[in-house]
Amino acid sequence: MPVNDMVIRIGGESGEGIVTIGEVFVRIAAFSGLEVYTFRTFPAEILGGHVTFQARISDKPVLSQGDDIDVLVSLNQEGYDKHIGELRPGGTVVYDSTNAAPTSGADDHVLYPIPVDELARSIDFMRGRNLVMIGAMVQLFGLPLDRAEQMVHRRLGRFKDVLANNLESLSLGYKYAEEHFTQRPPVYLEPPLEEAKDGLVITGNQALALGAVAAGCRVYAGYPITPATDILEFLAKELPKVGGVVIQAEDEIAAINMVIGASFAGVRAMTATSGPGLSLMVEALSLASMTEVPIVVVDVQRAGPSTGMPTKTAQGDLYLAFYAGNDEAPRFVIAPSSVEDCFYQMINAFNLAERYQVPVIVLSDQSLAPRVETCARFRLDQVRLFEREIPDLSQDNGYQRYRITETGVSPMAIPGSKGGHYTAEGLEHNEKGNPNYTPQMHQAMTDKRWRKVDTARQQLVLWSNVVEEWGDDDAAIAIMGWGSSLGPVQEAMARAQAAGYKVAALFPKVLFPMPDLRIRRFIRGRRAIIIPELNQLGQFARVIQHRYSRELIRDSVEVVSLTKYQGLPFRPVEIFDKVVEVSQALAVRAGVE
């Protein structure tokens, strides 16, 4: 039965090209018109060590890594032993029969042994082992060989001397599978046979970096840190092509101060880091807020606290993003919810920063950053950039950098402009920017700075990509969340709806300022709001519970915090189960009432 929704896992020593096999295979699938979504684990060791590559492949958009594993590909015995327990009953095992042998308990599974080494040796091209395996997988799971060949041309075409060998390896594997197995695997694919769809196969960090380029970012200062490093690496390659600069700073404190300096000088600038780095940026975030310099700071969250688990995911930095700073310095916070969304939220981030002259923190995470997803091509034509407000210095005699305005935003002169000179001031200051500690001025300036939050909250109502809301309008049960758990929630909801439950959902992308209007409207009439997030305290749940406590209690809406803190993303079933549990509880209560 072609079940066009398949979770495949590949396990083995990292050196063995697990990732290559996985990445090429999913690209062939994507190229064949299917949707893909990957997940990997990283070994503790620097080289070698056990690594897992997992992909979900479907003919419908894939929203999460799925629940169960349908197919296990093992390249060695360890890759078999470690994962076989997680393969669902009746699942498929494809294995390198020269290096692994199924052990007891394998009766439940459908086995496809491939003598990878032997085949590779037969054409005297051991480097082709990965392609032999890919060839077999292509055949077994129903992908078209020509697309696979084209992909080999695309990805390996530049190694001209071995191209023929590579193609032959692929075909060897394909043919072997074709000849030796008459029974198809219980789960295989049936790609739509039209032309390959338009769209991208891309990771979260790549989408985010592209978004930055599209948003006009031209200075990037950063310090390497897992899982944000490849943003630095991507931009190091691309920004110079558009006249931009990437600088590897000596640390995160330097990075953010460079970004502040660059933006003060009039150029859109950003940095990206992870939690430990964001912790070091707290003092400078406050400086940017006080001096009203627009900057964008990406935090690719990872599991903590402290150094924690650098290669594991979490959504634990919400409070840090919201509140970290001495005394009260407004900053905005955004959380993209999918690989595609990473692109668009970077546009929002720069627009918010430039328009309101505030630091903007973008919360991605370790599950989103390295994940490959298929998605629609980014609509560059729809990117609209807001410009920083600049004073008309020809008119403005006695320019005041921190003029107190109704919106809170004051026109910002750029160095090089005659008549606009001022000192950006981290001390409390008057409208000109000169230090001033009078009680009245401090109050007025504090109000001015915070007024920008309200101004933005009002104006954001008209922006796109600020909130995502879907599901049954009249559902008693709703789900609210933030960031990368959107996919699992979407999938859990689809299942719940299919099972007859009514559910509605809302994910704000801009978390600060919170879109109060939308949320208040959304809350109304619900009985319970499930808030799944990857931390222990339920940070977002607490924020929601506090901010809307009046409405929640008035309407007797229960907030159900669903937390997970294992370093792993949500599986849809975890959310689905919660929906079922909560609706049963509601039903019982309704019965009692």
């Binding site: 690209r27 994507a30 769809k197 338009d198 769209g199 991208l200 196969v201 592209l210 380029v213 599209a214 031209r218 200075v219 200062a221 390659k237 691309e238 110079p240 092509k241 558009v242 006249g243 600069v245 600088i247 700073a249 000596e250 640390d251 404190i253 330097a254 990075a255 101060n257 460079m258 970004v259 502040i260 300096g261 660059a262 933006s263 003060f264 000088a265 009039g266 150029v267 600038a269 003092e283 400078a284 400086l287 001096t291 091509r377 980014f378 560059l380 160095p415 090089g416 005659k418 008549g419 606009g420 000179h421 001022y422 000192t423 950006a424 001031e425 981290g426 920017g433 000169n434 230090p435």
Partner: protein
Amino acid sequence: MITLTESFKVKDLKSDVKPIWCPGCGDFGVLNAFLKALTDLKLDPAHVAIASGIGCSGRFPAFVNAYGFHGVHGRVLPLATGIKLAKPELTVFAVGGDGDAFSIGAGHLPHAARRNVDLTYIVMDNEIYGLTKGQPSPTSPFGMERKASPYGTYDAPLNPVAMVLSYGATFVARGFSSQPRELTELIKRGVEHPGFAFIQVISPCVTFYDTYARFKESTTPIPDDHDPSDRAAAMGLAAETNVQYLGVFYEEDRRAHHAGVTLVQEKAGSDFSLGDLLERFER
């Protein structure tokens, strides 16, 4: 370096913010020499940016009619680096105190130096924390008794000139706030130097550590026969602690950071469109 054709006066460069410094503070001398240098060079103040950290000396930018940034303590070099990165046509200064530079900011100095960021860094070294009212700084001498060191300091002071030389800096000089003419010349040379110019300025704190007498005694110009392209010789002069040499210890012509950036941009090529880049990710 963007200059004006018409000339202007020091007083045109003075902002209407009155310095908060104590009467007699060395920083006045530095400010005056600075303004004189800008005037002499006819630097267009609209294209001058002065970054600073926190300290008495950190208040400097607000006193000048140019773009300024009074940032946080110890981060003046990254801040100034960011400004220069974004707008290489600006003449960028970093200014601040010895605590700002060599204590909390000590981690940034090697990097600004090795990158050879084209800016002039003026450290007003009074061998004390002025703004926080007199704690020892990393350049305070052995045995200094202050409230924070009531039994005397017992750590060896740092030698800023030697340090910065060891970082491979391309311009290293020392001035004295009481010698405004010489200091003005040093600042001008620093500005004209196409790279990172480090100027340690002895700038006494009359209130918490009055060293005027000591430095009037111990300072002396660098001998005429010193070859400023000889780093080892410069190191030798820096190592002298009985006398404090004034002048340019070392100068070398090396590609500045922003020139490196330009080179990278040329290598990268400019035929780029976001659309094309997206192609790379097409399925």
